[in-house]
């Protein structure tokens, strides 16, 4: 075998030997070292490449950031970061970062700016915000924010009188799951997920691609469970990394998961395989639930899912064998088909049959430390209701709906929304149907984007504020809910290279410009953190030194003393939901066949890669070296029929005629013939993202359609279909 071709062929880690244009290590790319700092310093902080907030130790060598490792005393990372966290070095050195405040000089979306001072930028924003307040009321200023960093900015807006705050993490991500579990157990799955993966003896993953979806603690526990010989069952149209570890792989027809879940429950109930004692003790409405399931046989489900009845039976029995240490994972990004809250409820019910909630190897009870908030003055009382969910159209939404705010901005109903502040979330790629987002933006008097990179949404802003990356700033402390309680500190490791500022500073200065300085009674964030730590009887100096202060051990399971209480209307686990029935929904989930796509088209599926977070990391040179563009996964037989092979570039056209950027084909056995798959976050169109510009294709661009979940307003996005356009 020719060794060179072998390496080229097998290696998926990005770089090849030829075609090296700009050579240099990232650490040479940018030079603002502090000459006074010599030798190696180790500074604890926590990561922000995703929102998992893993404790880290940053190494600074002669004043320059060198590497980042996990903090061994952090319960989330346990001393080991994920590849994104390790590659966080590249966020600091990214040459495409935003450098100075910008004010738009031409029409929105043209990405033409002038650099201004912070004073000018914040003065401009404050002036526009005062106009919005006097003309429409402060409720007409909304904010979209993702992650811990937005808290201070939201505080400023709340002091101003704003009430509309949303994050795509609800209606475009985990919302349906939390609603489905709330309706069943009375509590969310929360984040980090309370899944006891490491103790599970049987783990069921439905579309959840742990290992590719790189939530550190979960992946560590997944590998641990695999190492311990746990029985893994994977349901996915794509043979994921997790599928490669599975005892049972179920290549389900996309969109039919609920049919499978109902059939599994049918088998478990009809064969009396459920945890009877648990169900009798904690369950409500089990008999009605049982009778609803009677028609959902494996033979019925086979016609929907394509999964053989005997395989459905075998996997149901496998789950029952290991109960209660059987964990049917609730997933995270679960806005797929618009029936997502009910599908998630079915997952909750299946877990209830296993008796896994509150039990080892199922779902633990997370714990936290008692750290009081800062005693701020009261916010002004709102005069209006929130804008995102008028008349409780989506009765079970317990967080604000991003797309609801977008809708109100577009229509002016129930009242106009005239200002958006967008923090660290790229709404153009995070919300389905980018055209609606752009139209809504045209109705705004003010769009402010606070971010570290010039994302697509920044391209539409009136004012862009460059934030320091997490390695250069303090944030609020993280008082986490997890297996173990702890407080964590994010603190600066190196200086910002240009005129970037931390979000707390931006929030405080903006408040001062708005005449709301009294809401920031502290001088700087150290004073703020010290105040909170002192109030909790904890040492700020210890936190600075170690990065983490652990709390006392508290019980995580029923048998450790957690009271088995379920804050549902019945006070029990609701197999039958009266509140759903009263609101006009199915009290026990019912399957509805998803609408098929146009003949000859493929359902478009998307997911995660372990080396990127959303659309936020593609310009990070280290992570880009791992994966610089996404690929279109296409079944090998289908590819052959279309005359395509791996490495060919094609374009995708969706059912509404939208054509994607060019994307490389990955011809593979690892996907069904009726769908295609790509990693989300690529195909950037923002000019400022020079390195990532138009590399790969954007799945978001093709998500023109979405099915709204009637329970909670989530946007199911796996309802788009594409055909393949070859060049020439």
């Amino acid at each position: 075998m020719n060794p060179l071709s072998r390496r080229k062929f097998l290696k998926i880690s990005g770089a090849t030997i030829a075609a090296a244009a700009a050579i240099g290590t990232v650490s040479k790319a940018l030079d603002k070292s502090d000459s006074k700092r010599k030798g190696i310093e180790k500074i604890p902080t926590f990561c922000d490449i995703c929102f998992w907030k893993c404790g880290a130790i940053a190494y600074v060598r002669d004043g320059k950031l060198w590497k980042i490792e996990g903090n061994p005393i952090d319960p989330l990372s346990k001393g080991r970061l994920c590849p994104r966290g390790t590659g966080g070095v590249g966020a600091h050195y990214d040459p495409d970062r935003l450098r100075a405040p910008l004010i738009r000089t031409e029409e929105r979306g043209k990405e033409m700016w002038k650099e201004v001072t912070w004073d000018e930028a914040l003065g401009y924003i404050a002036d526009k915000m005062q106009k919005i307040k006097s003309q429409y009321g402060p409720e007409s200023m909304a904010a979209f924010s993702h992650g811990l960093g937005g808290n201070f900015l939201k505080h400023t807006l709340k002091a101003y009188g704003a009430i509309n705050f949303a994050a795509p993490s609800f209606a475009q991500c985990r919302g349906p799951r939390d609603v489905g579990f709330r309706l069943t157990f009375g509590e969310d799955v929360s984040s980090p997920e309370r899944t006891d993966i490491r103790n599970a003896q049987c783990l069921v993953l439905i579309g959840s691609h742990l290992g590719e979806n790189m939530h550190n603690s979960q992946v560590q526990e997944f590998s641990e469970a695999v190492g311990n010989g746990a029985s893994i069952i994977v349901v996915d149209p794509r043979f994921s990394v997790a599928a490669g570890k599975a005892k049972f792989y179920l290549p389900i027809k996309p969109g039919t998961d609920l049919a499978l879940l109902l059939a599994w429950m049918n088998v478990i109930v009809s064969e009396n395989l459920y945890d009877k004692e648990y169900v009798e003790k904690y369950g409500f409405g089990f008999e009605q639930f049982r009778s609803e399931l009677s028609s959902c046989t494996p033979e019925w489900a086979y016609t929907e899912t394509g999964i053989e009845p005997e395989l459905i039976r075998a996997t149901a029995r496998e789950m029952a064998r290991y109960k209660p240490a059987t964990l049917i994972h609730p997933g995270r990004h679960v806005n797929w088909y618009g029936d997502d809250a009910q599908r998630s409820r079915a997952i909750a019910l299946l877990n209830a049959l296993m008796g896994s909630w509150g039990r080892k190897g199922g779902f633990y009870y997370p714990v936290s430390m008692d750290v009081p908030g800062y005693p701020y003055p009261a916010y002004p009382a709102p005069l209006k209701d929130k804008v995102d969910n008028p008349n409780k159209k989506y009765p079970f939404a317990h967080e604000a709906i991003t797309t609801g705010i977008r809708e109100a901005t577009l229509t002016g109903n129930p009242y106009p929304v005239k200002g958006w502040l967008v923090y660290a979330t790229n709404l153009i790629q995070a919300l389905p149907n980018e055209k609606i987002t752009r139209q809504a933006i045209q109705n705004l008097d003010l769009l402010v984007v606070v971010d570290v990179i010039p994302s697509e949404i920044a391209g539409w802003a009136d004012v862009v504020l460059p934030e320091s990356v997490y390695l250069e700033r303090y944030d609020d402390i993280n008082v986490e809910w997890f297996r173990d309680s702890f407080v964590a500190l994010r603190q600066p490791v190196v200086e910002s290279p240009h005129d970037q500022k931390p979000n707390w500073w931006i929030a405080k200065k903006l408040a001062e410009k708005l005449g709301l300085g009294n809401y920031f009674p502290w001088k700087d964030i150290e004073e703020y953190i010290k105040h909170r730590m002192t109030a909790a009887g904890l040492s700020f100096d210890e936190l600075k030194k170690n990065g983490i202060i652990p709390g006392a051990k508290q019980p995580n399971y029923f048998d450790e003393g957690v009271p088995a209480e379920f804050p549902t209307p019945s006070g029990k686990i609701e197999f039958y939901s009266v509140q759903l029935q009263q609101a006009g929904f199915d009290p026990v989930p019912k399957y509805k066949r998803p609408a098929p796509g146009p003949a000859g088209s493929f359902r478009l599926l998307y997911g995660r890669a372990p080396v990127h977070s959303f659309s936020r990391t593609q310009s990070n040179r280290i992570l880009s070296d791992m994966m610089s563009e996404n690929e279109l996964w296409l079944n090998a037989d289908v590819a052959g029929r279309l005359g395509l092979k791996s490495g060919d570039y094609i374009q995708l056209k969706n059912q509404d005629g939208i054509v994607s950027n060019k994307v490389k084909v990955k011809s593979t056995e690892r996907i069904r013939h009726d769908c295609v798959y790509m990693v989300h976050g690529f195909g950037h169109t923002a000019k400022g993202l020079k390195h990532a510009f138009q590399k790969g294709a954007s799945d978001s661009q093709l998500l023109t359609r979405f099915e709204t979940d009637p329970l909670m307003g989530g946007t199911g996005m796996n309802v788009n279909f594409v055909t393949i356009e070859t060049e020439g």
Binding site: R6, A15, T25, W66, T86, G227, V241, G244, M626
Partner: protein
């Protein structure tokens, strides 16, 4: 004398590339180059598939053709654990070693010398694991002395089915994969 090697558990590996990233930052590997990489070896026909995920790098072979073919002596076996290394200022960048390596583990560094995995010699001298091993969130990588029957790597090799890559090349590679 120790004989260092690695034993990597392909069952636990998720192919996340943290090993690749950590090598890059630890060793200041230049942009667009990597000293280690991930292979996803897929066999079968949908839906009956098997996949082995491997973190690959220089195999630090017992019989290293890259050392044998080096005209200057830059490529050599180090006293510590028989690690295969390149002395940068002796290397003339002739690429003989690149051609000789059956694993394609080497590349020419922009500064002109042949570069590759060093098993993080600067770390193992201090008793630390190589960076890739120490960061792995899947805990799938193990480093140690293959000649010590009590080492973790020896025990793993004795207790689990394993293979190396292209043993038929005759180089006696020292990285083993548990299956």
């Amino acid at each position: 004398m120790a004989r260092f090697g690695m034993v990597i558990d392909t069952k636990k590996c998720v192919g996340c590339m943290d090993c690749v990233v950590a090598c890059k930052t630890e060793n200041d590997v230049p942009d667009r180059f990597n000293r280690d990489w991930i292979v996803q070896d897929v066999r079968g026909k949908n839906p009956d598939l098997q996949m082995e995920i491997r973190s690959e790098r220089c195999n630090h072979c017992d019989k290293p053709p890259c050392v044998y073919c080096c005209p200057t002596g830059a490529s050599h076996l180090h006293d510590l654990g028989g690690v295969v290394l390149v002395t940068h200022d002796m290397c003339i960048g002739c690429k003989a070693c690149l051609a000789a390596c059956p694993y394609d583990a080497r590349f020419i560094h922009p500064d002109g010398y042949a570069d590759k995995c060093t098993f993080c010699i600067h770390r193992i001298e201090k008793g630390l694991d190589p960076a890739c091993v120490s960061v792995c969130p899947a805990h799938c990588m193990n480093f140690g002395d293959l000649d010590d029957p009590n080492s973790r790597v020896s025990k793993l090799l004795n207790s689990r089915k394993n293979h190396s890559i292209m043993p038929e090349a005759g180089t006696s590679p020292r990285i083993f994969y548990l299956v």
